[in-house]
């Protein structure tokens, strides 16, 4: 990737990350083929794209759940594959937290919410006094809009959205610097989504948190993100500032994705026209000079070198059009 603005400091750098499952076997899956992007300290980086394109896999690689097949991942300047000692791992796990896509499956069904969240506090030595710990658990539950009476319940006894909020509270409990939120709010009703998003924004401003926000809801992603990466089939196809991505989506896959966002308006849904994306459109026969190229400052497209001028023109045209309507 080309030069990034000087004043921004990357907290995460992913370079040519690859992840293959069942390598060499008949059932081999190339889940992530080539992913490179950086996340700057204090920003929210939105990751969107095709279901099965490798978003969660990338998130899991970041928090070191399993070994990666290729490439390098740096966190705060350190190659995470080199973090091995127990003490360092514990520190790493406190600094980086993940809110998982599947809330029921990511919480231990045999523990109550108090034990789940209190456990996280205890492991990281954040609250040694058990009464204070309970108080802290109540406080965390309330911050995600849950009643403190819920503390003694088991995950199974919650609705989907309530359970997801327990996962959010657990992640916030250890006061991390960096949070990966994988579909963290899609199971919540819109008012609680708004509440959690406002909370995440507030925490970010107060504590200079950084987020990787993986989601399918493109209006929410636009709202919360500073920059956005678009993934398809194991690759990042477009990276751009949030505003520009919606005004000037350059990659045909991004265009198709944006054209499919359902709007809460029955009348406009009756007249919706969706743009289909056909990967065959590109017919790159040689991937040699196909890479993530910088079309404009901070706007990257996965394309062939020869396509760069075309994308530049397209961008100019779309931005001009957007300004006309503004």
């Amino acid at each position: 990737m080309a030069a990034e603005p000087k004043e921004k400091k990357p907290i995460v750098e992913i370079r040519s990350y690859k992840q293959y499952f069942n390598e060499g076997k008949k059932s081999e899956v190339r889940a992530v083929k080539d992913v490179s992007f950086s996340i700057y300290e204090g920003e929210t980086f939105g990751l969107v794209g095709e279901s099965g394109s490798g978003k969660s896999t990338t998130g899991r690689a970041l928090i070191k759940l399993g070994d990666i097949t290729g490439g390098q991942i740096f966190y705060k300047g350190e190659d995470i594959s080199q973090i091995k000692r127990r003490k360092d791992l514990l520190k790493f796990r406190k600094s980086m937290q993940m809110i998982f896509q599947d809330p029921y499956a990511s919480l231990n069904p045999r523990l109550t919410v108090k034990e789940i969240i209190g456990g996280a506090l205890k492991v990281h030595g954040l609250e040694t006094d058990s009464n204070k710990r309970t108080e802290k658990v109540y406080e965390l539950l309330e911050s995600v809009g849950l009643n403190k009476q819920f503390a003694n319940r088991y995950p199974r006894e919650f609705s989907g959205g309530q359970c997801q909020r327990v996962g959010i509270a657990r992640a916030l409990a250890v006061q991390p610097d960096f949070i990966i939120a994988d579909e963290a709010i899609s199971a919540l009703d819109v008012s609680i989504q708004a509440q959690v998003v406002n909370l995440l924004k507030e925490l970010k401003e107060q504590n200079n948190l950084t987020y990787l926000f993986i989601a399918h809801d493109l209006s929410m992603v636009k709202y919360i993100s500073d920059r956005i990466g678009v993934m398809n089939n194991g690759r990042v196809l477009e990276v751009s500032n949030a505003g520009e991505l919606y005004e000037a989506p350059l990659h045909p896959y991004t265009e198709s994705l944006l054209s499919a966002i359902p709007t809460p308006d029955p009348e406009s849904e009756r007249h919706r026209v969706r743009t289909e994306y056909d990967p065959a459109y590109h017919h790159y026969d040689n991937l040699d000079r196909v890479a993530l190229h910088e079309i404009a400052p901070e706007h990257f497209i996965y394309c062939h070198e020869d396509e760069i001028p075309l994308y530049r023109k397209k961008r100019e045209k779309l931005l001009k059009k957007a300004r006309q309507y503004a």
Partner: protein, 362 residues
């Protein structure tokens, strides 16, 4: 026009025995479902959407669930009274369900192909080979790549969205009369979501399947629903056609929902949220359960539960604001805009309740 009703839920009330006491999760839910229609259920997280619909298929945990009262009428019988054996003939066959949490509802130790073929073998009179053929066809239909290869995979080898598609294939396997879909596309990207929604609509058109669609995504509701029910604290607080709910909502909770969404075209510093937190269903409040969070609450809301007021033949709302003696109030700006847009588009004047004394001065 006379339409056939396929399902009728009457005064359903469900509680759970928990460590802290009895949770009154569903408190008198009533609705009916017509043949070939899509009814969307939206509403607060924890308001009883999943519990009410799981009750239809009798899927609630026996050990701590209490069905306090109510009936679920399907083809002339009350499903709540059927024996478990009779219920098994209906579940997954006449009434199929797609769950909110695919990972926990799929069997982790069985290949996905087998899980799709299983209901076909159980309910339809076919050989194993035929069932496998049908399963592969379904996998292709819901957009699972390389069905033959994926047939032998286990759920953990699939992405969140792929697992959801497996669930959908299982639900469609027996061409059900009623499909209950609990957030079926929440885990999917918008293009695949669009394909799955098209698929469900096709099924609806071709087989006259009725769909109950639970989702938080009001965009999806606008795209799919013929009618919409809005739930809050274990009750349906408003129900109407999609146009009525989106362009002429009457209940302040519905207003709050419509106002909370970010829109693509507007920049907002902070998103609107409904103030306060949901009521404690261990001790549901007296009066209107939404009163404490409602900027438009009237004195009576804290004393007496609202009646259900009729707005049109298809539109009902449970709020005292529709009482003839209630004062006129102006809904939030975003809601007012919706009404204006609709009036401009169709040059109709939206009316308030039939008893007069409108809440939007109409």
């Amino acid at each position: 026009m006379e339409e056939t009703t396929v399902l009728e839920v009457k005064d359903l009330a469900i509680s759970f025995q928990t460590f802290e006491g009895v949770v009154k999760a569903v408190r008198g839910v009533e609705f009916m479902l017509k043949k070939g229609e899509t009814l969307a259920i939206v509403g607060e997280s924890g308001s009883g959407k999943s519990v009410s619909t799981k009750a239809i298929n009798r899927l609630l945990p026996e050990k701590n669930t209490l069905i306090e009262r109510g009936e679920v009428l399907f083809e002339g019988q009350d499903l709540l009274k059927l024996s478990e054996k009779d219920m098994q003939g209906i579940r997954g066959n006449d009434i199929a369900m797609i769950f909110q949490d695919p990972m926990t509802s799929l069997n982790p130790t069985m290949t996905v192909g087998k899980q799709i073929a299983e209901p076909i073998i159980a309910h339809k009179n076919v050989s194993k080979e035929e069932a496998k053929e049908k399963a592969l066809e379904l996998m292709d239909l819901v957009g699972i790549h390389h069905p033959k290869k994926s047939y032998k995979n286990y759920p953990h080898q699939f992405s969140g969205g792929m697992r959801q598609r497996v669930m959908i294939a299982i639900a469609l396997a027996c061409e059900p009369k009623i499909l209950i879909a609990d957030e079926p596309t929440t885990a999917l990207d918008v293009t695949i979501q669009a394909q799955i929604l098209d698929l469900m609509n096709k099924l609806k058109d071709e087989l006259d399947t009725s769909i109950i669609f639970i989702t938080h995504d009001l965009g999806v509701v606008a795209q799919m629903a013929d009618r919409v029910a809005v739930m809050y604290a274990g009750q349906i607080v408003e129900i109407g056609t999609a146009d009525e709910i989106f362009y002429n909502p009457m209940h302040p909770y519905t207003w709050g929902l419509l106002a909370s969404m970010p829109t693509l075209d507007v920049d907002q510093k902070n998103l609107y949220t409904i103030p306060g937190s949901p009521p404690n269903l261990l001790h549901p409040p007296v009066g209107d359960a939404f009163a404490a969070r409602n900027d438009y609450a009237l004195a009576i809301d804290f004393q007496q539960e609202p009646e259900v007021f009729k707005v049109t033949d298809t539109h009902y709302a449970k709020t005292w604001l529709l009482h003839p003696d209630a004062p006129d109030v102006t809904p939030p700006l975003k809601v007012v805009r919706r009404k204006e847009k609709y009036e401009a588009l169709f040059s109709v004047k939206m009316y308030a309740n039939s008893t007069g004394g409108g809440i939007n001065g109409g």
